[in-house]
Symmetry: C2
């Protein structure tokens, strides 16, 4: 039963992956066969070691774009050697990431950054394909130059390519909608769905036939075709680390240097995508990120022996696979078989595939990666994330996708550091039977990064505090403290002492008390969680050991209430209403 589901899913997948692979190869400016090699190699290993049935491993638009970025400018005569090496090194880095459990590195990239990154990638891909649709040759690099050159050469548009490209895109987008149409009969609906998911194969086939018809009828084909595709599967060959350029021999270090930091960026993106897909399709929490990274690494190292591009899971194909009712990763086997079949028997036909058709397949695939829907909720709910997304998008567009990704992620991290450096501090004047006092509450823990800020804040308070009210700093959010923070508190305490003002830090947990006790800092008045703050605040005036009633600490209520939180208030109120309740704590961890 499982086998049947997987067979159907695998066949559907095969019909998607073959045309896509050729298109992705053309995006990376590589021969079509290299795209196809990338399509079958990963499948065999993922079937054995993969854990998520839905993941379809192979070439993807992002991987192709990054491959183009890193090896696009290398000399043509040994580009394939560089490609093999790049794919292999990606596998090695993924292996290291897996062995060192570095999967958490993907956590530093947030949803807005991913969204900006993929949207920008899609725009770059579309920009790079429009020239093929229009039949114009463009030499510029960079998106701005590319668009300018496109407009300058707009009179060179080839009618045949443009017509074909536009029709293909229109058809692809229309067929894509077919699966959403609900009609009465189940068979019809299933047929519609099948047509919809194999739309790439259908369009490519139709265009091939058209080109073949023109060719056989003796007239010139009115649109550009792809180059000849080499037939058959290449003999596996271990990638070389010494690639000679012209007459000069390069050391392996020089060779690897030519690849830039591609073998760092590509694996991180690959792992990121694979983990995202796994998360989207797996049952909650059942993903073994390390296993996924190791599998990905094996797939890439194996693929590199067949001159494949770096591979990883593809979101669109995985969705197709899921919709086809896939049950085990074995489906990858069938799609790999179809790719091999195509490589063996269909290659003579592939040279009839028009370039404009491939461009249409690419554009229709990536146009949905441009994430516009996220903008409105982001703007309304979390404007900072909105700006991070927009910044990442434009940085990716103008300075390259890896720069954008890096700066976006860094900007995001800096915000989290900023929260440590600039705690929100609330201040409140309070009164109880012993007198008035000021309560200061920072809303996050204190480490060296926020110490200066709190120091300056307390120094300002001290200057303003002309009536010399005792000052109590509520440390309820301090879970731990470092030496710099303790030192800072000690300095400000000394300043207060010199100024004859009272400064007490209360609600201090035992951990911090311990850090303080063992440090060489002095003068800080700490009041533990189980101690009475009043003894510290008003100690010179009253002997608290005699007083029996302990005064209410209601100050926290108002202060936190004002802060828009009022958390303690709720707890306390519910406690006050306490009536014959039972609470049996069970230690569980």
């Amino acid at each position: 039963m499982y086998a049947a589901s997987d067979l159907i899913a695998g066949l559907t997948l095969g019909l998607t992956i073959v045309p896509q692979s050729i298109a992705y190869a053309s995006l990376a400016r590589l021969p079509s066969e290299n795209g196809l090699y990338s399509a079958f190699t990963g499948g065999f290993l993922y079937m054995l070691f993969g854990t998520i049935p839905q993941v379809s491993i192979g070439p993807t638009s992002l991987m192709s774009l990054l491959t183009l970025q890193y090896i696009g400018s290398l000399p043509d005569e040994n580009k394939i050697q560089y490609l093999c090496l790049l794919t292999f090194l990606c596998g090695v880095v993924e292996l290291l990431m897996g062995l060192l459990h570095l999967g958490f590195l993907t956590e530093i990239i947030s949803t807005p950054v991913i969204s900006g990154f993929t949207s920008a990638s899609a725009v770059i891909i579309i920009e790079s394909q429009i020239r093929h649709i229009l039949g114009i040759t463009i030499h510029s690099h960079g998106i701005t130059d590319g668009v300018i050159e496109l407009f300058n050469r707009i009179d060179h548009i080839k009618l045949g390519d443009t017509l074909l490209g536009v029709i293909c895109i229109a058809l692809l987008l229309t067929l894509r909608q077919l699966k959403n149409i609900s009609c009465g009969k189940k068979v019809l609906k299933q047929f519609g769905w099948f047509i919809s998911v194999s739309r790439n194969a259908i369009i490519v086939l139709l265009c091939c036939l058209t080109a073949y018809y023109y060719d056989k009828s003796g007239s010139t084909v009115p649109f550009k075709l792809t180059a000849n595709v080499i037939s058959g599967i290449p003999a596996p060959k271990f990638p070389t680390f010494h690639i000679d350029e012209g007459n000069t021999t390069q050391t392996s270090f020089e060779t690897i240097k030519k690849l830039g930091n591609g073998f760092i960026t590509i694996p991180i993106v690959a792992v990121l995508i694979n983990v995202s897909i796994a998360k989207a399709f797996a049952t909650a929490g059942t993903i073994d990120a390390t296993q996924e990274m190791l599998t990905l690494s094996l797939c890439n190292m194996f693929a590199s022996c067949f001159s494949a591009m770096p591979i990883c899971g593809a979101f669109t194909r995985s969705a197709v696979s899921n919709a086809s009712g896939v049950k085990t990763p074995f489906s990858n086997f069938y799609s790999a078989l179809i790719t091999i079949f195509a490589l063996t028997f269909l290659t003579p036909w592939f040279r009839y595939i028009p370039k404009a058709t491939l461009a249409a397949v690419l554009i229709a695939a990536v146009i949905f990666l441009i994430d516009v829907q996220i903008l409105k909720p982001l703007w309304k709910s979390c404007r900072r994330d909105f700006f991070i997304l927009v910044a990442t998008f434009f940085l990716c567009l103008y300075f390259g996708v890896e720069i954008g990704l890096l700066i976006g992620a860094a900007g995001n991290l800096i915000y989290l550091l900023y929260l440590w450096a600039r705690p929100r501090i609330t201040r409140e004047k309070c009164k109880n039977e012993y007198g008035e006092y000021l309560v200061i509450t920072p809303d996050i823990g204190l480490f060296y990064l926020g110490t200066d800020y709190l120091y300056t804040y307390l120094a300002k308070i001290a200057r303003q505090n002309r009536t010399k009210l005792p000052i109590a700093v509520n440390c309820c959010y301090f879970k731990s403290m470092d030496y710099t923070a303790i030192k800072g508190l000690s300095m400000i305490s000394q300043d207060y002492k010199n100024d004859n003002q009272h400064l007490v830090f209360y609600n201090v947990c035992d951990f911090i008390l311990n850090v303080y006790k063992n440090s060489d800092c002095k003068n800080i008045q700490f009041c533990g969680v189980n101690e009475n703050l009043n003894e510290y605040l008003f100690s010179t005036e009253i002997d608290f050991r005699r007083s029996v009633t302990i005064p209410i600490m209601d100050t926290e209520l108002q202060e936190l209430g004002n802060n828009g939180q009022g958390r303690e208030k709720q707890e306390v109120e519910s406690l006050l209403r306490q009536e014959n309740e039972k609470n049996i704590p069970v230690v569980d961890e």
Copy 2:
């Protein structure tokens, strides 16, 4: 009265700064006069714009070490031109830091990192001076190679230099103690103190006289002397941006490139030191960091016109100044006058200063920068900081001080990010009249960095939770949330829903509720701070609108108590004992 105090302080300072400047110049392998130029230029401007009376601006051991690091290997014939440019660029960067209010950048360097950095600098300086004490010429760079070469050439030791150097160090360290000796008479004590603070000048004078005696008596001087010092004050000259090397003309970009990132590192260190000194001596909170940065910038730009080294405040001299009873920054004027006097009249004598004496002055000055005392309290109180200090120390020693500073600061920041990424989560099984439930409390706010972790944690809980207890996540530490976090909570909520488990996030502040409401995420059950958790947890079974008594939320008590905090407990207990207390909140901000 102020003028008299400042005069005394300024004279004392002058007696320290003149010999120190010559020694610091020799550390940076620059002619002595450049050290002296650095000593008088800063003083004139700091007197006008500086805010902290104690700060003595001029050459320092750290600045000299960094100067050596960045221009030490440049060709001798135009080293001074590079020096002027470096000093000028440092001034420009400090100006930018001041104008952009970037003073907070110094906050990212914590006490252990500063301590490791200064200790390592001191060790490097001492290592670089031991050769002069022993009279050995050493060509190696780097501390390991230097020490090895020193041992290899140990038989080349010059007796004269060694004897002189050791005696000087011994005398300097002994005279330093003089100020601590308490004797009956006040005059004697003050005299001891004066001798102690002018020890550098005294030792240098004595050695000069010895060398002069040898020279005049016709015998060869038994130790190496410094080169001739150029007399007088140079005509001010704007630094050039085009330094020609040999016959090749360099563009200003090429020239600046030769300086490496010196003009970034040096200003950051300079600002860091100046702010630290300011903080140590100023009355609490009265430091205007921006003003200090701008003043420092002016001083450096001005100094660069007199071929000075980059300058900043010096800790040791500032302490001397403080002990001399300085009242205003005007004291810098007197010490600058003394330096000019020395430059004008004493230069013929300076060539009699033995190299070993200068090395002794340096060693005796920096040996107290090696901060050993901090190690024990750090080890006992905050072991992480201990390791950061040790790592910074060794990185500075072996990979250069700026690499050590950078990695130390980065490591420290990564820990703060780690706290976001891996919140400590406590779990507790609780029971009230409606039934049992699990309470999960993360101890820090939730942003994208911690989302994956919480997601995985909750997914694990869901799998273990075979009896399908309702699960309540206590969000009391969540002050804000980003889109990724909301999205993650939505995903896990969907997983729980699919699994027919109850998941509620309670104690959620209005800000987060608002973010959620405006986002496109669904399925999350949020319970606000003023809502009743039971309505959410057990809603399918009981109609809470009818029940009047609201059950106790005691669970938080135990859970936080177990967590070593028990904060709420205290508050609640004191509330329960509430008796005719008055609490008058006064809105204050």
